[in-house]
Symmetry: C2
Subunit: 222 residues, 2 copies
Amino acid sequence: MTAKRQFSRLPRHVGIIPDGNRRWAKAKGLHPAQGYMVGMERGLAMMDECLDLGIEEVSVYGFTMDNNKRPREQRLAFGAACVKFVEIAQERDIALKIVGDHTSAMFPSVLKPYALERIGTGKLKVNMLVNYGWNWDIQTAVKAQARPEETRGFQDLLASADVSRIDLLVRWGGMRRLSGFLPIQSVYSDFYVVDQYWPDYDHDQFYEALNWYSKQDVTLGG
Amino acid sequence: MTAKRQFSRLPRHVGIIPDGNRRWAKAKGLHPAQGYMVGMERGLAMMDECLDLGIEEVSVYGFTMDNNKRPREQRLAFGAACVKFVEIAQERDIALKIVGDHTSAMFPSVLKPYALERIGTGKLKVNMLVNYGWNWDIQTAVKAQARPEETRGFQDLLASADVSRIDLLVRWGGMRRLSGFLPIQSVYSDFYVVDQYWPDYDHDQFYEALNWYSKQDVTLGG
């Protein structure tokens, strides 16, 4: 709780792209799949950090439809890491929603309840993207709005409608790109890149991102 | 033409966010509006650089619907800068399209022909965003697809449907955010930030961005 005082202004909603699991494993001479389980543990550490800081909402990439082009053993590994994450995370003081196409065979069936509704009433809203696709997300809204009886605007009809605007987006692993991460919620996000691979996550990296964010002015495009 | 040889891999399509015109003017003790006309000249220089390098397509922010919240004299200044840019640019070897809501009073009426169709058959495709809004862009597709006789996918129905996927997005002025810049075309873009204000544009800054881009691997989210 003391850490919060370090920042003059905290983001309400943080997005996380935990990239570099495979590169980390390769650099250590491990199988690429082994990076994901270590990454999952770092995800729990980071979530606990958000809880301590009093951040209200966090959205994190589990895996995407684009990722499904990878070899089967990697797919099994990142799917298993997502399941393990949820298993442990649900014990924390969170409210968890999974955003992703649960009708696909690529979606871990045990996670389906979290895709249907937000589970838990804890103080941190956690949105986990599992079998997520930016095109699928927007198409969901487009198809819904094509129904003549539908009067809600397209943002309220996105598959990710329950995910709010992201203030700060932090990507690990050095790449400076969104890779399809919640494009509507990210239009005004401040984007910070950590060069280290995600399995080398350390809270100081996150603090640096938060410190940088506290110095940005929010204009929402104005 | 020699410059092209410096890069092992050039982006096909470059996006440009020319930010910092007002901060530049303020730092020089000038009126904020004066920054825009200098910025316009830098835009022409950068377009010529793209022509020299053999880049195929460039998209650039003129102004957005969000920007229309600014004082009237600023609005007049950035509108005038866009008109002047088009007036000079159309003499170059380009094919120019303006993407923006031309039905609004905020849209400079003299530019309307460019919003209705691409004008010119030159080798560089230039897309200029004038009175552009990310929400308006996507809503255009949503509304079109709600028509029962419409069979095209939503990406073909965007107001920006004629703008292709962006490979490299370069923002001047130090901010690390998209500010609503073509969200669909930017989902996989590599994002490079130049700290200098746009009116301090120098082609070396652009070369550095291109050099950085040439070392990135393109995965399209895979």
